[in-house]
């Protein structure tokens, strides 16, 4: 009797888990946007030193 309840409970949680997985997979777009932000930030970090030198070398227009 107790085992049946446990089994039923496990099945329900499996189904819930499965449902959860499907829900996580759905919002793909926000994840992509965040990736783009990270890539952009990475590019800016890569360019930082060069840009700093550029400002020093062109002090008349900065």
């Amino acid at each position: 009797m107790d085992r049946r309840i446990i089994h039923a409970g496990l099945m329900v949680s499996c189904l819930l888990g499965l449902g959860g997985c499907i829900n996580v997979a759905a919002p793909e777009e926000p994840i992509v946007i965040e990736l783009n932000v990270n890539i952009r930030a990475e590019v800016l970090y890569r360019l930082a030193e060069d840009a700093s030198n550029t400002i020093d070398e062109n002090a008349d227009i900065f």
Partner: protein, 133 residues
Amino acid sequence: MTMIRKTMLAAIAAPVAGLVVMSGFAAPAMAQRDPAYEAARSNGTVGEQIDGYLGIVGQATPALQDMVNDINIKRRTVYTRKASENNATVEQYATTAGCQAIARTVPGEKYQAPDGSWKTRTSAPPERLPICP
């Protein structure tokens, strides 16, 4: 000889600066800001934008617009060359320079906050884009 040449250059530099700007000559690498540009920064009529270009903060006058356009055309030329050298887009390079130019503002100067509004730099760090290095 060199000393005399430098003195002569210094003596003619200021009055000639405007002509040099108009004729499109590349300014010497270590040249300093034109007094009119320096004054516009100090009194907050121009400010550093997020995109790496100079902006007019209040009412634009023809003279102010000319000066800002001239500086921004020069900046864009530099950004374009440097972006190419670094395998980046002009926008990426310009934004990076904008991050740095805003960071380098001194108290009293204007800069553009991430929300697009103009802020006056204080002794506190400026508000910059979260992606700024």
